[in-house]
């Protein structure tokens, strides 16, 4: 009954099988390309063609497009309008709106920036859809990320749904004692403490228990830890990562050359 907080969708696809670090590199490459290449149409091609194709390869196209429509498009549209209207560049005025001038240049500029944002958010969405958070964290810890950092990330994802479930039980328990949570505002305001009290006390006690439990498993030990869960890192992954890095380098050089 626990709700999941991560976006991850468990499927078997070429993208799911990639090493988490490779996927992370891919995301960074996409974003840097969108911002760095001197060619005007790069972000557009990435956003409209390349990333959707990746989502199809990753077998998460349906989820990707629902998230994209709900989350990314409204934000990008807003950004596009704001930048088109308030960017004081260009001469050729397309239309007036009171004191605001919309020029061809500002439209082009805003369009590109909106596309860049789409690339950025959608690349990350794709990453989250195809990567399990704990897989990402165990891979990164193996590569030297401090365990404490990984713990904070992962436990947040786990604790929130647990607290939600706990809050639900507390509400049920107090309503069973005749606590009115449904009628007038004043009555409901008075019912805050009986609901929040057990949640806070309980969570504090849980934090302590958690700390003891993970320490019992040698959390702060300085020894190198082995992992039961092997995360594959094939030679293909390595080749892909190096080529992606090369691509980033090329786009940086091109960018400098151009300006």
């Amino acid at each position: 009954m626990h709700e999941r907080l991560s976006f991850h969708i468990k499927r078997d696809s070429a993208i799911h099988r990639l090493n988490p670090l490779t996927k992370l590199t891919l995301v960074l490459t996409l974003i840097l390309l969108a911002f760095l290449t001197p060619w005007y149409w790069t972000p557009h091609i990435l956003a409209v063609i390349f990333i959707p194709i990746l989502s199809v390869i990753g077998k998460v196209a349906k989820e990707y497009f629902t998230t994209a429509l709900k989350l990314i498009l409204p934000a990008a549209t807003f950004l596009f309008i704001m930048q088109a209207v308030f960017q004081p560049i260009g001469e050729e005025i397309i239309f007036h709106f009171y004191f605001l001038d919309v020029t061809q240049e500002s439209l082009m500029f805003a369009f590109r920036n909106a596309m860049r944002i789409i690339v950025m958010v959608s690349a990350f969405t794709l990453f989250l859809l195809t990567t399990h958070p704990s897989e990402l964290m165990s891979d990164l810890t193996r590569r030297g990320l401090p365990g404490q950092f990984a713990y904070v990330m992962i436990s947040t994802l786990q604790i929130l749904p647990q607290m939600q479930a706990k809050a639900q039980t507390i509400i049920s328990a107090q309503r069973s004692r005749g606590l009115d949570t449904e009628s007038t505002f004043l009555k409901r305001a008075g019912s805050i403490f009986p609901l929040v009290g057990p949640l806070v006390f309980g969570s504090l006690a849980e934090v302590e228990e958690r700390a003891i439990a993970i320490e019992a498993r040698g959390f702060t030990s300085k020894q190198v830890k082995t992992s039961f869960h092997e995360i594959p890192d094939s030679s293909n992954d390595k080749i892909l990562r190096w080529s992606l890095l090369f691509l980033i380098l090329v786009s940086i050089v091109l960018n400098l050359w151009h300006s």
């Binding site: 507390i170 309503r175 005749g178 009115d180 009986p194 009290g197 057990p198």
Partner: protein, 268 residues
């Protein structure tokens, strides 16, 4: 107060069908234990009694109240429900305020509240701990505070969800005493339990659930003797029942008293 359940079905929003057609009547003053494997639907069933869950189809009536027509806060005047984990309901600075919370919500008079609280304290042996903060008490005593806070509401029906889990022998007998006192007052007690010996010693009627349906329902005697059927829901008959079977006793025995009686009679 009578509980009537009529072809109850319940499906969780996740699509899990937890109750698949249950019809039951629990009469006023009955002591009922509900047993069955984890996930059999025990908690889901009793949460329908005080309206925390509403039927997907079918109906549950408490006395003359259909649970779909009354709020949980309203139904709390007829049904007390002790949750499994006391930490999910304790919030007051001291035991006394905690126990007064329920009866106050029900709007009883000051005198009546005092009387009910006093009685609850005596039954749960908390009289000398009224000033203590519930969180300074051990988990076993916190369980008693939770118990007291519900029985002080003086509801005609009381539900216990796994009252004996993690409790030592002394505390289990304390809980058994509370149930006996409630019985004397003519109240209905419904208990979910995995503790089959506790069930055999304190309850007249046993309902075994399996997979959202009633597997067995009847006198504790009849139900707890059916070893093969109970095995379907992973419930073992009480130890003495099994011992009686090994000894080839003529009758099914479920608790010490019965066991000794049968032995004494066969000696003669």
């Amino acid at each position: 107060m009578k509980i009537e359940i009529n072809s109850l079905h319940f499906t969780y929003p996740t699509g899990l069908e937890a109750i698949k057609g249950i019809s039951l009547t629990i009469n006023s003053g009955e002591q009922v234990a509900i047993v069955g494997q984890n996930g059999a639907g025990k908690t889901t069933l009793v949460r329908h009694f005080n309206g925390l869950l509403k039927p997907t189809s079918g109906s549950v009536t408490i006395g003359d109240w259909d649970t779909t027509k009354y709020s949980v806060a309203k139904l709390a005047s007829r049904i007390g429900y002790v949750f499994q984990n006391p930490d999910e309901q304790l919030f007051s600075r001291d035991v006394l305020t905690e126990i007064e919370f329920g009866p106050k919500n029900l709007g009883y008079s000051k005198e009546k509240i005092d009387e009910l609280v006093k009685q609850a304290l005596v039954w749960t042996e908390l009289t000398d701990k009224t000033e203590t903060n519930p969180y300074d008490l051990s988990p076993t005593w916190r369980k008693m505070v939770a118990l007291a806070s519900i029985i002080a509401m003086d509801t005609p029906i009381v539900i216990f969800d796994e009252p004996t889990t993690g409790q030592d022998f002394v505390n289990v007998s304390r809980i058994a005493n509370v149930i006996a006192e409630l019985k004397k007052q003519g109240k209905t007690v419904i208990t979910i339990t995995h503790d089959i010996d506790f069930c055999a010693e304190n309850f007249e009627r046993v309902i075994a659930l399996s997979n959202g349906k009633v597997l067995l329902d009847g006198k504790a005697h009849e139900v707890l003797g059916q070893e093969e059927i109970l095995a379907q829901t992973y419930v073992d008959p009480p130890q003495l029942t099994r011992l009686g079977k090994v000894l080839n006793l003529k009758e099914t025995v479920i608790n010490q008293e019965e066991f000794l009686n049968v032995i004494v009679r066969s000696e003669r």
